[in-house]
């Protein structure tokens, strides 16, 4: 880890709704997290989730995400707060890994619970677009034993422009 230590879990409230926003420095179990989130949001009719995982079969042996502690989690929290003001949600979960991951490991889990499914879809989509292009993570991958940094993708910025 290049960055200083930082609390890996923090809860905050916007409009009396708690978002659960975490920067995970160790592997997490997305199925268990989603089960817990769903069980905690039984008043919501629908839960949309996005799980990003390290792909298998691309020859990528490992992926490392580095972060900068003073900015990364606060940025994720600000993103959650923005999603809560834009859509009517019953619950919002954002977990993002940092550190070294191998194929099959979960990188990011976003879940939104809402009475109306359109809100849950939009909030999840919005959070992913912003996590991908605006959050403070730097990514490199190991292929054939060599690490190489991943450049920002133009596609991510096009995705982001959808929300302006």
């Amino acid at each position: 880890m290049r960055a200083m230590s930082w609390p890996s879990c923090r809860r905050f409230r916007v409009a009396d709704m708690a978002a659960d926003v975490r920067l995970a420095l160790e592997p997490f179990d997305p199925a268990a997290e989603l089960s817990r989130f769903t069980a905690a949001n039984l008043s919501a009719g629908g839960v949309v989730s996005f799980l990003g995982q390290v792909r298998n079969g691309d020859g990528v042996e490992a992926l490392e995400l580095s972060h900068y502690a003073p900015l990364t989690l606060p940025g994720m929290q600000a993103l959650a707060a923005e999603a809560l003001t834009r859509w009517s949600l019953e619950g919002l979960l954002i977990i993002h890994r940092a550190g070294i991951m191998v194929p099959g490991d979960a990188i990011v889990l976003v879940a939104a619970a809402a009475r109306h499914r359109r809100d849950a879809f939009a909030a999840t989509d919005f959070a992913m677009d912003h996590l991908k292009s605006e959050s403070w993570f730097w990514k490199r991958e190991k292929v054939g034993g060599l690490w190489r940094w991943i450049e920002p993708r133009g596609e991510d910025h096009e995705d982001l422009a959808r929300w302006v």
Binding site: G52, Y68, P70, S133, W136, F137, W138, W149, I150, P152
Partner: protein, 80 residues
């Protein structure tokens, strides 16, 4: 003494995630870059690299760094 933090590929260029530097007194960014090896100072001058002073994003123009400060160099993010 100030602490310089390098994120992403800048850490490779710097050979470390962080360096410490002793300053004579409050110093503008230009003076800090002059104190670094050219192969590192060159890329750090790129305006696409954002700066955070003590954990807060700051503008390059007029930036002054003093003893005890942490200055982070943040290249474009590559996403989650």
């Amino acid at each position: 003494m100030i602490r310089l933090v390098f994120l992403g590929r800048l850490a490779d260029l710097a050979g470390a995630g962080a360096l410490e530097l002793t300053l004579a007194g409050p110093s503008p960014l230009e003076d800090i870059l002059l104190a670094l090896p050219a192969p590192l100072a060159g890329p750090l001058a790129d305006p696409r690299i954002k700066l955070a002073l003590n954990g807060t994003l700051v503008a390059r123009d007029g930036l002054v760094v003093d003893a005890g400060d942490e200055l982070a160099f943040l290249p474009p993010v590559s996403g989650g």
